[in-house]
Amino acid sequence: MNGLTMKRNYKEMFKTPEMLTLIGFFVLCIIFSVVSEEFLSLTNVSNIIRQVSINGILAVGMTFVILTGGIDLSVGSVMALTGTIMAGMMINVGLPPFAAVLVGIILGAVIGYINGAFTAYARIPAIIVTLAMMEIARGAALLYTGGYPLSGLPASYSFIGQGYLFGVIPMPAVIMIIVFVVAYIILNHLPLGRYIYAIGGNEEAVRLSGIKVKRIKASVYLISGITAGIAGAIMSSRLSSGQPMAGEGYELDAIAAVVLGGTSIAGGRGHIFGTLLGALLLGVLSNGLNLLGVSPYVQRVLKGAIIIGAIYYSSIRQKD
C-alpha cells in the first residue's frame, strides 16, 4: 500500500459511523465533565459502567442478528423473563445461584431458537416473530410472578450484579467484557462468524456455496437469546429480585448501540467493538443528562432522534 492510499484510508476512516460515535463519545465526556463536577467521580464512572453493561450485553446478541440482516425485538422481555425465572428457581425451587442462572440462560437460548426457527425456516419476517415473542415473554414473566417482584434472593447472588472484581472493577463490566471477547472470537475467527457476515452481504451466494444458511440464521437468534439470559442474571442480581417489568424498551437501546457502532441495519457490515462504543455513548449520554437534571421525557425524544440520525447517516454513506 502506498502513501496516497494510506492517506485516503485515514480520511475514509474518519467518515465511518463508528468513528463519529467515538468522537461524539469523547466530546460528550468533555462537556459533561466541565459542566458537572460529579461526572468524573469514581462512583459515577462505575455507575455508568454498570448501566452500560446490561445494554452492552444485549447489544452483542443484537449485533449478531443485525449482521445477518435481521432484528430481535424480544430481548428486553426475554431478559425480564429469564431474570424472574432465575429468581424463582432460587427462591421457590431452592436451586443454588449457579444452577438457577444456567436454567435462565438455557431458557433464553430456547426462546431465541424459537425466534430463529420461525424466522429462518418458516420465513416469517423477524420483526413480526420477535415482536410477538416480546409480548409472549413479557406475559409469561408477569404470569410466573403474578405481577409482583420476586424478592428474597440469597446474599451470595448479589455478587454478579453488585460485586467488584479486585475490589474496583464492577462485576457486570467484567461479564460484559468477557461476552464481547467471546463475540469477537466467534465473529472474526470462526467459520460461523464469516458466514454471518456473508449472509448479510449476499444470502444467495452463501447458499450456493453449500452452506446451511437457515441453520446459521436461526443460530443468531439463539445467541441473542443467550445474551438476553446473561443480562437477565445481572439485572435480577442488581435489583436483588426478579422484576417482571424490567427491561422495557431495552430492545431499542440495544439496536441503537449496534447502529451507532456502525453496523449496517441491512446486514453484512459492522464490527463488534463498534457496538461497545455505541453502548458507551448511549450510557454516557443518559447519565450526563440525568446529572444535568434533563427530563427523562426529553431524553426519550433525543434518543429516538439519534437513532434515526445514525441510520440515515449510514444509509447515505452506503450509497457512495
Partner: protein, 495 residues
C-alpha cells in the same frame, strides 16, 4: 423508421448503426441470437434506454423518448416477457394503473373505467371475469390484460417480446388470432421471438440482427428456415480456444449420470457426463439451461430426479449435498449469486472451504487461509493489489476469476459453469478457457452453459442443445456447427 441507432454501454457496443424501416400495419419480426441486440433495440424504441447516437421517426416525424411513459404517449408500447401487472389488483385496476379516471370530486370513477375496459376487451374478442385479481388469471389471460392496457392508450406500435414463452399451444393460437385482429385495426406489430416456426406463421417481414449489427430485412414468405438460421449465425469464429486433446485418456469413464430431471421449468432431462469432458449446453434464452443445472444441484426443487455419480445413486436435495458429492455450480450472475461484494477477495475465496481450514476448536487457521488464497491469486492471475481488496472493486474478469477460485479450491470433480465469460474482456476470456481446459485435462468433468455459440463450439467435447425445457439434441463437439446448433435450438428436429 430507424436510422443509425447506436447504443454503447461501458465496455461494449450493443448496437452499431442499425437502420431499417417498419411499415405501418405489418407484423415485423426481429430475430437474432442471444446478445444480437434485439432487446437493446426494443428498449430504445420503448423509451427504457436512450440511444448513444442515431434517431428514429414515427409516421415521418422525428421522435425521441426520455422514458417509457413518453413512448407510450407517442403510441409505442411493449409487452415484456415479465408482465408488469400488480398481482392483487383486478383487471380493470391494472389496465388503468397510473392513469385512473376520476370523477369531478376527485374520487375514482370505477364505473367508467369498467365500461371502457369491457369495451377494449370486446374489441380483442376476449371475455372473462374482470373482478378477479390478476394473480388468479392464467398466464394467457394476464397477457391479454397487458395487451388491453396497451391498446387502451391508443397504441400505434405494439412490441411483443417473446410472447409465447409461457403459453400452451391453444393459447398461442388465440394470441395469433388477436395479433391478426390488431393488425386489421391498423396496429403495427413488432414481434421478437426465438421460434422461427411462429415467425413464419404470423409475420410479414423480418429483420435479422447479429452482434449488434443490422444484417438484412426480408419478406418472410420468400425465405426458408435454413436461410434465416444462416443469416443469424453467419460470422467468422476467431480462434481463442485452447486445443482439444485429440485422444481422450478418460473417454469412457462415465462420472455423472442424470435421469429425468423434471420440475416446473424443465422436463425429462437425461444425459451423462464423462471424466475429463467439457459438455457444452447450448440453447436460447428461456430454453431452461440454468433451470436445469439449478435443479441438478438442488438450488431449485425437482419433482423428479435421479443422479448417479460414478455409478452410485446420490441424493441431492440442496447445494450442500451437491458440494459433498463433489458437484458445484458456478452461478450465472457473479454479482448476485457468486460473490459477497462487500467482502474481501480472501474471504470470498475461502467461504466454501472454511470448515476444512479450521482446527478442532473451529478456529480458522489464518495462515493456511492466506496460503491457499495467495496461491489462487497467483495461479489464476487475479490482478489486485492485495487479497484484502473488496470484491466489488475488481473488474468483471477478475471478479469472475475470484468466483472460479472459490470453487476450484473445493476440490470438486464436477464443475458446472453457467455463462463463465459473460461481460468480461477477451483477454480474461482466453485465460478462463485455458483454465477450464487444464481442469478437464486433469480429469475434472465440466458442464458449461453458454449463450455464445463460438464459445460452445470452441470448448465443448460434446454439445447438449436445449429447447423449451427439454434436451433437443446431443451433438459431438467436432461435428457441431453453428447452423446445426441453431437448428435444434430453434426447435428443429433430426435432419
Amino acid at each position: 423508421m430507424m436510422k443509425n441507432i447506436t447504443k454503447s454501454f461501458p465496455g461494449v457496443t450493443a448496437l452499431k448503426g442499425v437502420s431499417f424501416n417498419i411499415r405501418r400495419g405489418e407484423v415485423h419480426a426481429i430475430v437474432g441470437e442471444n446478445g444480437a441486440g434485439k432487446s437493446t433495440l426494443m428498449k430504445i424504441l420503448s423509451g427504457v434506454y436512450q440511444p448513444t447516437s442515431g434517431e428514429f421517426f414515427l409516421d415521418g416525424r422525428k421522435v425521441s423518448f426520455k422514458d417509457p411513459k413518453e413512448a407510450q404517449l407517442s403510441g409505442i408500447s411493449i409487452i415484456h416477457q415479465e408482465f408488469s401487472l400488480i398481482p392483487y389488483l383486478n383487471s380493470v385496476e391494472n389496465i388503468y394503473l397510473g392513469r385512473e379516471i376520476r370523477k369531478a370530486n376527485g374520487l375514482l370513477d370505477k364505473k367508467k373505467m369498467r365500461e371502457k375496459a369491457e369495451e377494449t376487451l370486446k374489441r380483442l374478442n376476449a371475455d372473462f371475469d374482470l373482478n378477479k385479481p390478476i394473480a388468479h388469471l392464467s398466464v394467457a389471460n394476464q397477457q391479454f390484460i397487458e395487451i388491453a392496457k396497451a391498446i387502451s392508450i391508443d397504441t400505434k406500435v405494439l412490441i411483443f417480446d417473446e410472447p409465447t414463452a409461457s403459453l400452451t399451444g391453444n393459447e398461442i393460437n388465440n394470441l395469433f388470432k388477436l395479433i391478426e385482429t390488431l393488425k386489421a385495426d391498423g396496429v403495427t406489430i413488432i414481434y421478437i421471438s426465438h421460434h422461427l416456426d411462429e415467425i413464419i406463421h404470423i409475420c410479414d417481414r423480418l429483420t435479422v440482427l447479429r452482434d449488434g449489427e443490422y444484417v438484412d430485412t426480408k419478406d418472410v414468405a420468400k425465405c426458408t428456415k435454413q436461410e434465416i438460421v444462416k443469416m443469424m449465425v453467419g460470422r467468422e469464429i476467431i480462434n481463442v480456444f485452447p486445443e482439444r486433446p485429440s485422444h481422450h485418456q478418460f473417454r469412457n469413464e462415465i462420472r455423472l449420470q442424470v435421469k429425468k430431471i423434471t420440475n416446473s421449468n424443465v422436463s425429462d432431462i437425461s444425459f451423462d457426463l464423462k471424466k475429463g469432458e467439457i459438455l457444452g449446453v447450448a440453447g436460447l434464452v428461456g430454453s431452461g439451461r440454468t433451470e436445469m443445472v439449478r435443479a441438478l444441484v438442488g438450488a431449485d426443487p425437482a419433482e423428479e430426479k435421479e443422479v448417479y455419480i460414478n455409478g452410485e445413486k446420490a441424493t441431492i436435495k440442496n447445494p450442500t449435498d451437491a458440494l459433498s458429492h463433489g458437484i458445484c455450480l458456478i452461478p450465472e450472475s457473479r454479482k448476485t449469486q457468486g460473490l459477497i461484494l462487500d467482502m474481501s477477495i480472501k474471504k470470498n475465496i475461502s467461504l466454501p472451504i472454511l470448515n476444512e481450514l479450521s482446527n478442532r476448536l473451529k478456529i480458522i487457521n489464518r495462515k493456511r487461509e492466506n496460503n491457499i488464497v495467495n496461491k489462487s491469486i497467483k495461479d489464476l492471475l487475479i490482478k489486485t493489489p492485495s487479497s484484502m481488496q473488496k470484491a466489488k472493486n475488481l473488474s468483471g474478469g477478475n471478479q469472475q476469476k475470484v468466483v472460479l477460485a472459490k470453487w476450484i479450491n473445493t476440490d470438486s470433480n464436477i464443475l458446472i459453469f453457467d455463462e463463465p465469460t459473460r461481460g468480461i474482456d477477451i483477454g480474461a476470456k482466453e485465460e478462463i478457457y485455458r483454465l477450464m481446459r487444464d481442469l478437464a485435462d486433469d480429469g475434472i468433468s465440466i458442464i458449461m452453459i453458454s449463450s455464445e455459440l463460438p464459445e460452445v463450439l470452441g470448448m465443448s467435447d460434446r454439445v447438449l442443445v436445449m429447447y423449451k425445457g427439454r434436451v433437443q439434441a446431443m451433438l459431438d463437439g467436432k461435428e457441431a456447427t453453428q447452423e446445426k446448433v441453431m437448428h435444434y435450438a430453434t426447435g428443429g428436429v433430426n435432419q
